[in-house]
Amino acid sequence: MKIKQVFKKLPSIKPNKEFENRLYYKIISGYDGGLKSINNFRFLKYLIFSLSLNLIFLIIIYIFQATHISLDLNTKENFIQLNNNKLATNYSVKINTMFSDEVILPTYKMESDDLISVTLPPGYYYAEIVGRDGDSTRTPLWVSSLI
């Protein structure tokens, strides 16, 4: 048997027909525009990435809003005004003295646009604001005796 014939006689392997067709369409559709195109896919990835960043940012703002109450300190009258002027509801607020933990205002539930006023002697206090998720933040308050 001739050497050339030996090599020619080597059997040909039939590839999986489904793979053959699938690969062709995968390559063509991968570059042919539409949602499957690689460029569009990249764009989609960036879009999803930026949207998720925005979403995270919004969630952070929302959480911040949920635990933040604007505090107006009126030193003249020696009282503290807590004004819930944010959108979130279901806070509870507690005012304690800073060093002795004496409860000045026990847990007080606040709804949107609620306003509470507490008259206090000069000193250091903190307001403990508990959000709907149970997380609490402490905001220091100072009532001056100078004025």
Binding site: F7, K9, I13, P15
Partner: protein
């Protein structure tokens, strides 16, 4: 080139060469999954080349073999613990029932497998006689000079004549 022309050209190439490239890689790797993976890589690169480059490939036949070979070498480099870069042909004969009776043929293949070394001899002869590449195309596919390809082919044939 407009997208439609690229797709038409690619379809033409794919139909013409897919099976050859698949078989070539299968001969190299002895593994259908590897052959599929290398084919995917090769034809994706080819399509990308057609799409991006304005340069015309003079010999597509040789270029595809070269591309597939390089992809396979890279594959071997990455999976060097699991993939052998030695070409073995015996399993092709064993797997084909039609050739079971052809004892002589099987014997020759086994002799080629065991005695025709280095592996490049087998590769050159496969490219030249099985896939019908010219000396220039073999040289281009293997990234060697034409004279070198011719010489390797001659040496391989001489060695084969001695051992068969």
């Amino acid at each position: 080139m407009p997208q439609k022309d690229i797709n038409n050209r690619f379809e033409e190439l794919y139909k013409m060469y897919f099976r050859k490239i698949y078989n070539y890689v299968y001969y190299l790797s002895q593994d259908k999954n590897v052959a599929e993976e290398i084919c995917e890589d090769t034809f994706t690169k080819t399509y990308e080349y057609l799409r991006v480059s304005s340069a015309v490939i003079e010999n597509m036949h040789a270029w595809l073999f070269k591309c597939a070979r390089n992809a396979y070498i890279n594959y071997c480099r990455i999976h060097r613990r699991y993939v052998s870069n030695e070409i073995a042909l015996s399993h092709l004969v064993e797997s084909d029932n039609k050739l079971d009776d052809e004892i002589e043929f099987k014997k020759i293949i086994k002799t080629i497998d065991t005695k025709l070394t280095p592996s490049i001899y087998k590769e050159v002869l496969i490219l030249k006689y099985k896939f019908e590449l010219s000396n220039e195309e073999v040289a281009s596919a293997l990234d060697i000079s034409t004279d070198n390809a011719r010489q390797i082919c001659k040496r391989a044939l001489d060695k084969l004549k001695k051992i068969i």
